[in-house]
C-alpha cells in the first residue's frame, strides 16, 4: 500500500514536470535557447582555452632554437688552439619530449676558410672576389625549419650532381653571388667547391656564413663525427623547457646544455601574459554568461506565480512545489547543456581551425563540465521561486499581486 502510493506519487510528480515543460512551447524554446547558448559558449571557450595554450607553445617554435648544447668551456679560448667539439651522435640521441614529441635540432660545425667566388660554373666565368668566410656544416634531425629565414631567391632552379651550398645574405652581397655561383676554398691543402643554390636572409650571425652539408666540413677540418654545437627547439611551457634542459644535462654530463636566455625568457614572459589574458577573458566571459543566463532564467521562473498558487491551493507543501520547479529547471539545464555543449565543442573545433590552421582537439572532459555548469546555472536561476513561499493562493486567483 505504502509502496503503491509512493509509486503513484512519483509518477504524478513526473507527470506534472512533463506538463510544466510542455504547457508553453514558445517559453520552452526561449529557455532552451538561453541555456543552450550559455552551454555552447562555455564548452567552446573551455575547449579553445585548453587547446590554445598548447598550440601557443608550439607557435614559439617560429622563434627558432632556444637551447644550445655546446662543449664544456667552449668559451675559454685560451684553452686549446683546436676548437672544442662534441660528438655528432648526440643529435640522434636526443630524448623525446613529453607527449613523445621529437625535438627538432640542428648540428653545426664551424670553420673559417679563404674562399674565392666565381659567377658560374662555365669556362668563361668571372672571379667575383675572395676572402675569409665562416663555413658551417649543417645537419638537421627533422623536417622542421630550425632557423627562421627568408629565401632571397624564391624561384630558383635545381642543381644536380654537384655539391650545393646555401649562403647568407652578407656573404652573397659581399661577393655579389647569385644562384648558380661557385665558391672555391683551400684549407690545409684540401680543396673544395660548391654551387650556390639558395641565398638566405637571417638577420643574425648566420648571414655571414656559408652552409654546407655536415660531412664536407667534417672532412675539410679532419673532424669526423664531431660538431661545434647543437641547437634545439624545445617547445612547451617555460616549466617544461626547464625540465627538459635539466634532464638533458643529466643524460649528457660531459657537455654544456644551456637555454638561450633571450628566447627562453622572452617566450616565458610572453606565454605567461597570453595565457593569463586568455584565462582572465575566458573566466570573465564565462562568469558573466552564467549570470546572464541566470537572469533570463529567473525572469522566466517568476512568471510561474499562478502555477505555484494553484499547487498550494490544492494542498502542495512548499517543499514539494519547490522540488517540482527545481527538477524542471534541472531537466531544462540538462537538455540545454547536452545540446549546447555539443554545439560548443563543434564550434571550437572550427574556431581552432580558423586561428591555428589546425582543428582544435575536442577534450572529452569539457563536455561533462559544461553540461554540469549549465545544470547548476539553471537550478540557481530557478531558485528565486523560493520567494513564492509566502504567496497567498487566494490573492493569486483573485488576480491580485
Amino acid at each position: 500500500m505504502m509502496t503503491a502510493s509512493h509509486t503513484s506519487n512519483r509518477s504524478m510528480f513526473w507527470r506534472i514536470v512533463r506538463r510544466l515543460l510542455t504547457a508553453n512551447l514558445s517559453r520552452l524554446f526561449v529557455i532552451l535557447l538561453a541555456l543552450g547558448a550559455g552551454a555552447a559558449v562555455t564548452a567552446a571557450l573551455l575547449n579553445l582555452q585548453i587547446d590554445a595554450k598548447r598550440r601557443l607553445t608550439n607557435e614559439f617554435r617560429s622563434f627558432g632554437p632556444n637551447v644550445i648544447i655546446a662543449p664544456r668551456n667552449s668559451n675559454d679560448s685560451t684553452a686549446t688552439l683546436r676548437p672544442a667539439t662534441i660528438s655528432e651522435s648526440l643529435l640522434d640521441q636526443l630524448p623525446l619530449q613529453e607527449g613523445n614529441r621529437p625535438v627538432p635540432a640542428a648540428a653545426l660545425l664551424y670553420t673559417t676558410a679563404n674562399v674565392t667566388a666565381y659567377s658560374d660554373e662555365g669556362i668563361h666565368n668571372t672571379q667575383l672576389g675572395s676572402g675569409l668566410v665562416v663555413l658551417t656544416g649543417f645537419r638537421v634531425n627533422s623536417e622542421t625549419r630550425i632557423f627562421p629565414y627568408h629565401v632571397l631567391n624564391p624561384n630558383h632552379g635545381v642543381i644536380l650532381d654537384a655539391e650545393t651550398c646555401d649562403v647568407g645574405e652578407r656573404v652573397a652581397s659581399q661577393f655579389r653571388l647569385q644562384f648558380g655561383g661557385v665558391l672555391q676554398w683551400k684549407v690545409a691543402g684540401k680543396e673544395g667547391e660548391c654551387i650556390v643554390s639558395e641565398l638566405d636572409s637571417f638577420g643574425g650571425a648566420e648571414d655571414s656564413q656559408v652552409f654546407l652539408p655536415m660531412e664536407s666540413v667534417q672532412k675539410l677540418t679532419d673532424m669526423p663525427h664531431q660538431v661545434s654545437l647543437l641547437q634545439l627547439i624545445v617547445s612547451g611551457t617555460p616549466k617544461q623547457i626547464e625540465k627538459y634542459v635539466a634532464s638533458l644535462q643529466k643524460q649528457f654530463p660531459d657537455v654544456d646544455v644551456r637555454p638561450i636566455r633571450q628566447f627562453t625568457e622572452g617566450e616565458a614572459s610572453i606565454y605567461n601574459r597570453i595565457s593569463g589574458l586568455l584565462t582572465a577573458t575566458v573566466a570573465i566571459v564565462l562568469l558573466l554568461t552564467g549570470l546572464c543566463v541566470m537572469a533570463a532564467m529567473t525572469n522566466i521562473a517568476i512568471e510561474r506565480k499562478n502555477d505555484v498558487g494553484l499547487m498550494k491551493a490544492v494542498g502542495g507543501s512548499m517543499r514539494r512545489v519547490l522540488r517540482l520547479f527545481l527538477v524542471e529547471a534541472a531537466v531544462l539545464g540538462l537538455a540545454g547543456g547536452i545540446v549546447g555543449a555539443a554545439a560548443g565543442i563543434l564550434i571550437s573545433i572550427a574556431l581552432g581551425k580558423a586561428v591555428f590552421g589546425v582543428a582544435a582537439q575536442p577534450r572529452l572532459i569539457v563536455y561533462p563540465v559544461a553540461v554540469a555548469l549549465t545544470v547548476v546555472v539553471a537550478i540557481l536561476g530557478a531558485y528565486p521561486l523560493r520567494r513564492l513561499a509566502n504567496i497567498r493562493p487566494a490573492s493569486v486567483f483573485r488576480g491580485e499581486a
Partner: protein, 459 residues
C-alpha cells in the same frame, strides 16, 4: 499617453524590468570587456614582445664579412668599416620615431684582461676577453631638445644585472693614472658572470685591460698600456656575453683610437605583423602601394626608413625575432577576437531570451490594448520603445561594468588599463538595441496575431 504607458509599465513591475535590465547589463558588460581588451591587446603584446630584444640590427654597408664563431668576431680590429655615433639621434626623427623603443650602439675589442694583482708590480693572470663598448641608460639629446634615454638594458632586456650599469660622463676627460680619475663614470664597467668567476673578482674591484695594440700582455703598471675600470655590476646574459666586459662606448673608442664610431647597432622597434604585402620588395611597388607600405609600421618599412637617415648603414631584420613575433601576434589577436565574438553571441542570445520572455508574459496586456482598439503597429511600437529604453539603460550600465572589468584584466596582466573608447560605447549601445529588438521581434509578431477575446477570457 504613449509615454505614460511606457512609464507605467516600468513603474508597475520594477522587479521584472530590473531583471531583464540586469541580463542586458551583464551581457553588454561581457561584450564591452572583451571588446576593449581585444582592441587594446595588439599594442600591449607588441610591447611585450620587445622582451625578446632588438628586431633590427644596423651594420656598416662597407664592412668586411664578420668571422663570428660562438659570439667571437675573429676579424682584426682595424679591418672593416664603422658608422658615426653622431648620426644616432636621427633615429628619433624618422616617420616611425615613436615606434623606436630603444637602440644601443656596440663597439667591440678583443683583448686580455686581468684582475688587480695582490701586489703592485706582481704578475697577474691574464684572460682573453671581449670588451663591449655600449650605452646603458644613456641620455641621447634629440634635435628638438628633448632627451631620450636608451641603452643595452633596453635592447637586451633578458640581461640580469647584479649591481648597476656603468655611468656616462657628459664629456670624456683625459685620463690620468691617479685614483681620482678611476672613479669617474666613464671608468666604470660591468663584467659578464663567467668572466667574473674566472677572474675571481666582484663588484667594486678594479680590472685592467690591455689596450696597447698587439703587444703581449705583461703585468706591469703602465697607464699607457692598460685601461683600468672599476666593476659596478655583474651581468648574467645566458649567452656569449657572459665572458665579456661591458664598458661605456666612449671608453672603448678611446682604447681603440676610433673616436665617435660604432660597429653594430641594435634597434628595438614596435612593429605590425608582416603580411604578404609587407614582404614585397618596395622597389616593385607603384607609388600608391609604396605609400601604403611605408605608412604601416612593418619591420621592413621601419628598416627602410632607418636606412634613409643613417647613410652607409645596412639595416637587417632579425628574422628570428621579427617572424615569430608576427606569427604569434596574429594568432593571439585572432584568438581574442574569437573569444569576443563568442562573448557577444552568448550575451546576445541570453539577452534576446530575456526580452522574449518579457513579451510572452504580457499577452494579457496586449490583448487588452487590442480590445481597446489599438492596432498591432501601435502595440508593437509601444513594446519596442520599452525594450529600447531598457536596452539603452542596461547597455550603459553594462558598458561601465565592462570597462571596469577590462581595466582589472588590463592592469593585472599588462600593468596598464585599456583606454575607454567611444567606439566601443556606441557599438555596445547599438548591439544592446539590436539584440533586444531582435529578441522581442519574434514574440511580438506572434503577439500581433493574438485574438484579444480568448486572451481576455484567460484561455
Amino acid at each position: 499617453m504613449f509615454f505614460r504607458l511606457v512609464a507605467d509599465s516600468f513603474a508597475r513591475r520594477p522587479r521584472r524590468k530590473l531583471l531583464t535590465g540586469a541580463a542586458l547589463a551583464l551581457g553588454m558588460a561581457v561584450a564591452t570587456a572583451a571588446l576593449s581588451v581585444s582592441l587594446d591587446v595588439g599594442d600591449r603584446l607588441a610591447h611585450e614582445f620587445r622582451s625578446l630584444g632588438a628586431n633590427l640590427v644596423v651594420t656598416p654597408q662597407a664592412d668586411s664579412l664578420p668571422l663570428e664563431i660562438g659570439g667571437v668576431d675573429y676579424r682584426p680590429v682595424n679591418a672593416g668599416a664603422y658608422l658615426p655615433e653622431a648620426d644616432l639621434p636621427k633615429l628619433k626623427t624618422i616617420f616611425w620615431h615613436n615606434n623606436i623603443i630603444a637602440f644601443a650602439p656596440i663597439l667591440e675589442f678583443n683583448t686580455g684582461v686581468m684582475a688587480r694583482p695582490e701586489k703592485l708590480g706582481a704578475p697577474g693572470k691574464v684572460i682573453k676577453a671581449k670588451l663591449i663598448g655600449t650605452w646603458a641608460s644613456y641620455p641621447v639629446k634629440l634635435s628638438d631638445g628633448t632627451i631620450f634615454t636608451t641603452g643595452i638594458e633596453k635592447t637586451n632586456p633578458w640581461f640580469q644585472l647584479k649591481g648597476r650599469w656603468f655611468g656616462h660622463a657628459a664629456d670624456a676627460n683625459p685620463r690620468g693614472n691617479d685614483l681620482v680619475s678611476m672613479l669617474l663614470p666613464q671608468d666604470q664597467c660591468v663584467l659578464g658572470e663567467k668572466l667574473a668567476a674566472q677572474m675571481g673578482v666582484g663588484t667594486g674591484a678594479l680590472i685592467y685591460a690591455n689596450i696597447s695594440n698587439g703587444d703581449e700582455l705583461k703585468a706591469y703598471w703602465n697607464a699607457e698600456a692598460y685601461g683600468v675600470c672599476r666593476i659596478t655590476g655583474i651581468v648574467s646574459t645566458g649567452g656569449d656575453e657572459d665572458s665579456a666586459v661591458f664598458l661605456p662606448l666612449a671608453r672603448v673608442q678611446q682604447f681603440t683610437h676610433q673616436p665617435g664610431v660604432y660597429r653594430k647597432l641594435y634597434v628595438s622597434a614596435l612593429t605590425k605583423p608582416e603580411d604578404d604585402f609587407a614582404r614585397r620588395d618596395p622597389k616593385t611597388m607603384n607609388a600608391d602601394e609604396f605609400e601604403r607600405w611605408s605608412c604601416s609600421p612593418y619591420v621592413s618599412s621601419i628598416a627602410y626608413s632607418i636606412k634613409q637617415v643613417l647613410p652607409g648603414a645596412d639595416v637587417r631584420v632579425v628574422r628570428r625575432v621579427a617572424e615569430g613575433e608576427g606569427r604569434i601576434l596574429t594568432r593571439v589577436r585572432a584568438l581574442l577576437w574569437l573569444v569576443t565574438a563568442a562573448a557577444l553571441l552568448a550575451a546576445a542570445l541570453a539577452v534576446g531570451a530575456s526580452s522574449a520572455a518579457s513579451v510572452i508574459e504580457r499577452r494579457t496586456e496586449i490583448g487588452l490594448m487590442k480590445a481597446l482598439g489599438a492596432g498591432s503597429g501601435i502595440v508593437g511600437f509601444l513594446l519596442a520603445a520599452e525594450q529600447l529604453l531598457l536596452a539603452f539603460v542596461g547597455g550603459g550600465i553594462g558598458y561601465s561594468i565592462g570597462i571596469i572589468l577590462a581595466r582589472l584584466v588590463g592592469e593585472k596582466i599588462f600593468g596598464a588599463a585599456p583606454e575607454p573608447s567611444l567606439i566601443v560605447f556606441l557599438v555596445i549601445l547599438a548591439l544592446a538595441a539590436g539584440v533586444t529588438l531582435l529578441g522581442s521581434a519574434l514574440p511580438l509578431r506572434r503577439a500581433s496575431r493574438y485574438e484579444p477575446a480568448p486572451i481576455l477570457r484567460g484561455e
